[in-house]
């Protein structure tokens, strides 16, 4: 707001007064383009008791499919030709493209991870993963494989925290880095104890684990010296999980009942006798094989759909309940069901094109998500000051990429 020379996508309703006091954050949820009724008239600015002005900054994404396709395929080819050595550079470049094309208030984000650091960690994690898969193949080395698995399970929360630290510290906006300073203890509570609780309660505590994890993520995130705060609650997580389960059960019944009826009718028509378990007559029809295969594919896709819904709905909830330094709040208006549709159709397109549609799919999903995200602030976004951050390690980042530890955010 201090620079009229540079073009900016969003224009604040009212020039932010220099007196805007960070600390108050009762943001109205209505569109902020109109002055809220309780605000004093703009022509009567009383510097001492000025109520905060809320400015909404949409997040915009300027990446283009053709441009990203060329970047993606050239880097993929380089990774393949160099037998994977270039892979970290490719990953960083892909990510840099997305960060660099994400804009808030006239400034873009930047991803600054060091590919060389990533390469070192990839080698370590890749060797461990390879050893684990190899030792799993044989009974003799079973003990070793259990040991590797155990070490990984014990280190998992630490790796997650490391990954978040790495991710945050390499994200730059307006010349300031993000930081993540979650404690090790917090990581072991949110990603260790909570996950164990979720599994021993056969999933009942899973939404609580999600809540703990999101809170750990947001509360320990800093931009400059401003600290993140998660204002969300556990109950909505349970609502999201219930919706996911409801989707599974509902769709399962809707598809399963007619399927079973068809199968029974087919069996009866073929004179199939359950008592003698005549597998020959069962196997003599390709129908049965196809039936099993189709049922399997449907089950897996349904599971994927439910999981995608949970992810998108959680992301939306988190974005709607996160704030930074008491002066900035994020908001999300994207529709989780639409995200599910985009993800499913993306997956189909990627399969049909043998992966060549991946850049298009990534851009499409990212654009939809970001177009539904906005930032509301009661202080100018250029009022943040630098903070100090701890060391970072690329090991966690590599582990999450290679071993697919779902951070779900």
């Amino acid at each position: 707001m201090t620079d009229p020379a540079l073009p900016r996508t969003p224009e604040p309703t009212v020039p932010a007064p220099g007196t805007a006091v960070p600390g108050r954050h009762d943001l109205p949820s209505a569109p902020e383009r109109l002055p809220a009724p309780e605000l004093p008239a703009p022509e009567l600015p009383a510097p001492g008791l000025a109520a905060p002005h809320v400015t909404t900054y949409p997040v915009s994404f300027t990446g283009s499919t053709g441009e990203y396709f060329r970047l993606w395929i050239v880097n993929a080819a380089l990774s393949v030709v160099t037998l994977g050595i270039y892979l970290p550079w490719a990953r960083v470049r892909n990510r840099q493209y997305f960060y660099g094309h994400t804009w808030v208030d006239g400034q873009n984000f930047e991803y600054r991870a060091d590919p060389l650091k990533l390469l070192r960690s990839y080698v370590v994690v890749g060797a461990l993963f390879g050893a684990f898969t190899l030792t799993q193949q044989s009974e003799r080395l079973w003990g070793l494989s259990v040991l590797i698995g155990l070490v990984f399970a014990l280190l998992y929360p630490w790796l997650v925290a490391q990954s978040m630290r790495f991710q945050a510290v390499n994200t730059v906006h307006r010349g300031l880095r993000f930081h993540f300073d979650g404690s090790l203890k917090g990581a072991y509570v949110a990603y260790g104890a909570a996950n164990v609780a979720a599994s021993v309660s056969s999933g009942l505590a899973l939404p609580w684990a999600w809540f703990m994890q999101r809170r750990y993520q947001i509360d320990n995130l800093r931009y400059g010296s401003a600290r993140g705060l998660f204002r969300g609650d556990v109950a909505p997580m349970y609502l999201i999980a219930l919706t996911g389960v409801g989707l599974l059960v509902g769709a399962g019944l809707l598809l399963g009942v007619p399927a079973v009826v068809t199968l029974v009718a087919w069996m009866a028509g073929n004179g199939f006798d359950l008592d003698s378990m005549d597998w020959d007559s069962l196997g003599s029809g390709l129908f049965f094989l196809i039936f099993v295969a189709v049922a399997y594919v449907i089950l897996i896709s349904l599971n994927g759909v439910a999981w995608q819904y949970v992810r998108a709905a959680t992301m939306r909830y988190v974005l709607n309940n996160a704030e930074l330094g008491g002066v900035v709040r994020t908001g999300a208006t994207f529709n989780p069901w639409r995200v599910v549709w985009i993800t499913v159709s993306n997956g189909a397109a990627q399969l049909l094109t043998l992966g060549l549609a991946t850049p298009w799919a990534d851009i499409r999903r990212n654009r939809y998500l970001l177009e539904g995200v906005s930032v509301r602030a009661i202080a100018p976004l250029d009022d943040f000051a630098r903070g100090t951050g701890g060391p970072e390690s690329a090991l966690g980042e590599a582990a999450t990429e290679l071993l697919d530890i779902g951070l779900g955010f």
């Binding site: 395929i73 030709v81 930047e110 003799r140 307006r174 997956g347």
Partner: protein, 359 residues
Amino acid sequence: MPDLNGTDQAGPGLPGVFFDGHSSRDHPATLHLGAGGVRVRLEGRGDHHWRADQVTLDAPLPGVRRSLNFPDGSRFETPDDPSIRDWERQHGRNRLLGGVRRLEGSWGTALGAVAVTGAVLWGFVTFGIPALARQAAAVTPVGVLASFDREAMGVLEGQNLIGPSDLSAARQAQLQAAFRDVSGWAGGPYGYRLLLRDGEPAGSGGLGANAFALPNGTVVMTDQLVALARSDRELVGVLAHEAGHVTQRHGLASVYQALGLSLIITAVTGDVVSASTFAAAVPVALVQGGYSRAAETQSDEVAARFMLERYGTTRPLQTILARLEAQDGGPGSVPDLLGTHPGTDARIEHLRQLEDAAR
């Protein structure tokens, strides 16, 4: 235009924003590039000078502002990519990634990259993985093999795919003797043993008429296959074929191949268990089919050598293969998921050629 002789000369400079690294405030500024260094002129707030070697330049990305980073944490961002590129070329910065940026710029190289990626992946899956798997199988200590045999037999018995043989003790002793002859001829440090088993212990749905070899020399032959044979020479041919699998270490190589493929798919799709992995399993199965065809041919050659040595003909193996095919390939039958005998016609033809060549 950037002034290339020094930083002190005034010029229009490149427009951009300056961040001091202490706050998120953006300062409008202009950048003057010179051979010795750069100068950032802040509107009404004086200049900053930096030597060229103090400047860190991020590699260029299509459509993204260029940023110059300075030692005190401050930075300058500008949309004027061409001028920055001139400067970085003169100072030899970002040579490699600058080259990558040029490759990314054209549709021609993008299409070339599609072709190269496809060709290299195809070549690696078709030739690279089998070669690596063969190497790995060849250097695997024999001690490891025994556990493979134990585990595999446990799985087969546990799933009720095989049961105790119904053959008489005398008949079993005959076949064991024949196998000793074959295994003695094949040689190697393996723990050869022949297991005669009922292939359909649960009525039907088991292995049926079948024979297979495990990595450490355990060969399983079913009663149904013994019944199918019209002479013992046919069974000896099958046993020699299985011994070929053992000495060529095909079983172990196929384990490594499956491992390598699943590692690649995990790396490419980026996930371990999901619908995409499931979908990817289909091409894996097809590729595995191709691998096993090559292994069958190799083992047939081993069997042919043995049979030509002992009987002077490969005909018994040809006839039992044909009979197996006729039995399996009847109309309306389910494709044999465990079948390791693809392309029977081609194999019979190959055996005939080997016999002709030996004459």
